[in-house]
Amino acid sequence: MRRSWWKILGVLLLVYTFIAGLLIDVPQNPQLQETIRNLFFHVCMWFGMMILFIISFIHAIKYLRNGNHVHDIASRQYAGVGILFGVLGYLTGAIWMSYTWVDPNKTLYNSFDSIAREPKLIGAAIALLVYAAYLVLRDSIQDIDKRARISAVYNIFAFAMLFPSIWIIPRLLPSLHPGGSEGNPALNFKDASLNMRLVFYPAIAGWTLIGVWIATLKIRLRILNEQKLMR
């Protein structure tokens, strides 16, 4: 095992998140109640996804600049783990909203039509689908160099699509989801107490480091596979 300080740091930050995340005093909000603690889990998935996509984007540019195939592999694997985090964010969000957004006078099924209109959900779905298309595009090209080049270019496009789909359009439209016109969700100093921020920032770092760890493992495995094919 490659022992690195950041792997240990990531694990320690997550242990801290799991303990402090459940024990600290949180602001009382009649609608959220204790579910406000999901900030340390659900929201961190999205932050992790964005950071992993940024790393993937940087590797795509690096590949286009120097043509080193390691960057192509890295770009692909970081995008893959980013999509995993995004899907987990979606699933946890679905659980969270079904206890906080649902009209108490209606069933979950009957209030689905109003929830499905949420611009944040649609934007995140578009972003994830654009990245899913990245995987499809890659696998549909046989030639290794062509695949690497086209998918690196597409990766840059997919990253650019994150701006309108999750950072701009959802903030222009009315939404139940926090962080609309008032600023960044959870990063806004008005809607997260000091106590929560003490856990929230380490939680983002911890989850992201675990995501990076998984991605590096997949990259190393991929490189081993390619070397096997070369021989």
Partner: protein, 66 residues
Amino acid sequence: MKKISALTLFSLFVLFANAQDSKWTKMMNGTGKVFVVIAVMLTILAGLILYLARLDRKISKLEKNK
């Protein structure tokens, strides 16, 4: 393997520590039994991290062998 048995021992400890009337039991039963949730979450986290660490070690071995 050693670490996995340690993990199993930890969860068994949480299980059987319940039988004795101790400070531990008092803590686990306090504040709406939220510590039970923490124990469950930490066990799952530990299991996943151990899995990752083992995978990491296996890949390192493959890298050395080539």
